[in-house]
Symmetry: C3
Subunit: 268 residues, 3 copies
């Protein structure tokens, strides 16, 4: 089964250290989300200390939300150090389609660093795949290629697992494709709901387990979606939703999640 119910428990036992180089908008939300889940955040972003931080990290998450030349340098140093030490790397290419600068930076990261997982929306992944897609700002847009095609293109080209999130999430390593239909429409109303998911994927990658990366990413995305559903049953209003979501990230168990899972393998 692609969903691995033990991973959540392992996060709470092992408290993996997730090293986030992230943006000023979501730094607090991401750190609190990781702590609520059971992981431990490191939020350092200065090039001077990237190698030291990676030494103690269980995973590294690179998020370009409010990138600048210094944090980009830090991301590349952290990513390369993680590759050397075998620490998994997640890339969140926030709004990559919105500027030439972001496109260049993501290209450079993907050239310099072996990224294990790219987590983005369809607009961001279409930019990375270099296929046409109409993006609106840093949010997803509308286009003509199928979502699956774009996700597989990116996974194959960059030899990584792709977590494409949207109304239906698509997770693929380039060979196998899973769809996850969990989640709630209130989630995109919360700034950083995608960024925190990337950090949560980092937590799932950071535990000891024989599961594949594909299984870990699918489990992380489905878990996150179910937590969103459970919180949305309490409230659909964004201020209250954030509170309920944090509470449930802490409280949810695999037993709560399993009956709600909507994961299916795409058969071709």
């Amino acid at each position: 089964m692609i969903y691995d119910g033990l991973l959540l428990q392992k996060i709470r036992q092992e408290n993996p250290l997730v090293h986030n180089i992230t943006n000023i908008v979501v730094a607090n939300f991401s750190a609190n989300g990781l702590l609520a889940l059971g992981a431990s955040p490191i939020m350092a972003d200065s090039p001077e200390e990237m190698e030291d931080m990676v030494t103690i990290a269980s995973s590294v998450v690179l998020n370009i939300g409010t990138l600048n030349p210094t944090t980009v340098e830090a991301m590349i140093l952290a990513g390369k150090a993680a590759n050397v030490k075998g620490v998994p790397v997640v890339l969140d290419p926030v709004g990559v389609g919105a500027s030439q600068f972001r496109r260049r930076v993501v290209q450079t990261i993907l050239q310099e660093v072996n990224v294990d997982v790219i987590r983005g929306n369809i607009g961001e992944l279409a930019t990375i795949a270099d296929v046409e897609w109409q993006a609106k700002g840093v949010d997803a847009g509308v286009g003509s290629h199928s979502a699956e095609y774009i996700a597989e293109l990116v996974a194959t080209k960059h030899k990584c697992t792709v977590g494409m999130t949207g109304e239906i999430d698509i997770i693929t390593d380039g060979n196998t494709v899973y769809k996850v239909k969990n989640g709630d429409p209130v989630m995109p109303l919360i700034t950083g709901s995608g960024c925190l998911l990337s950090a949560v994927i980092g937590a799932f990658l950071g535990v000891e387990s024989a599961s594949t990366i594909l299984s870990k990413v699918t489990t992380a995305i489905a878990t996150y979606g179910v937590v969103g559903e459970l919180a949305a049953e309490k409230t659909k209003l964004p201020g209250s939703f954030v509170v309920a979501f944090m509470d449930l990230l802490h409280d949810v168990t695999a037993e709560d999640i399993k009956p709600r899972l909507q994961i299916e393998e795409v058969v071709r």
Copy 2:
């Protein structure tokens, strides 16, 4: 009527992209507030991508809360690009009276960029007007000139609309003056309540409408004040207030707002 009840609905239909160059304290709160209201935030602050971001933005908000030479460069690039493209610009001169550095930066911005709206408290606007006023840190202080005089001086000198917020808000384009008495004393207890208002003004400026900037700014400030009143009816405690305020930004309608409006034109 100066209050334009259609603007809120237009924000929710058009989801204007508000490009914020802002500070590390309020970035999350501002982005969440814009999303709750129905707008879309861009929070980039690196000079490398300012022109690209302005290309897709419906409005630009410059906030000097935790300014540094790099973000100042970004603000000026974004402001100039916005002027070229006819995108409205809001300036929030946070704590401008607190340091020489802030005074110089605000002077430079006002020389280099045509700012459409300046939103600040009386202490900040007195500094820009170069009239005496006792400021306390980044908060408002006490002085001798009338608030209206200061607001009009700034509006006239910088050919813009001024939104001076405080117990009574004063909005003027240098010709007409409106007072808004909506709001609640708990609001200044929330860090960034002024900064988010500046971003919200950006959302109101970012929709298609024949209304004047004076009408849009007055509508934004009155809407924000009424949301504060409605939230304060639920709770006066700051942690709970933030949650209620976000919920209500999302939920409030022009019909909720209209019966509570306390707007009056100053007749002279």
Copy 3:
């Protein structure tokens, strides 16, 4: 009595301006916590304006959570200016054991600036004391020296008051040692709960009072711990806890606190 019940009231009367040079993770939480308590935050971090900010500040708090060379420069400028003007300085050496860069920076700060209070966990203080201790990331770890020994070593070496926080808090000026057992295990689940405490200590140092720094720091730590207990009586879930904690920081009185105090002097 080491607990000074008047200090909280003074914070609410005097609204001391606490100048924080802090990190992108906790800036919002720290500013909101200070406002909730009754103090006023300044959150500037650019070297260009440090001296001006210190001129109006009641205390200065240096936090290295997401340090970089520019903020370090700002911290040293602010610290030196505070020393010249007699403004108290608090240092929060977040995760100092996690990188060579942090160790060098903290050494430099302690050489260049007379720090009045160091607030950290046992792992951080062991690094400063240069005694062995196993740290895990930026969080506390496990070691062999007694916590009291480490706290006194730092206090004596750096001629300051040390607030070592953990399950049991230890406060010492190198001569007298107090233990505080207030607090709740949910508190470390909130990112920045230590950072905000350092800022709160800044607020307690920033009021006019004949109390010793040892008394002010002990009062601040005990107050914070009791607020944590009161909030934890409402909820143990992290999202709801943050809301309750902010509400109670605003609402709590010395009369609520006194019956719950668990402070004892260590007799030797």
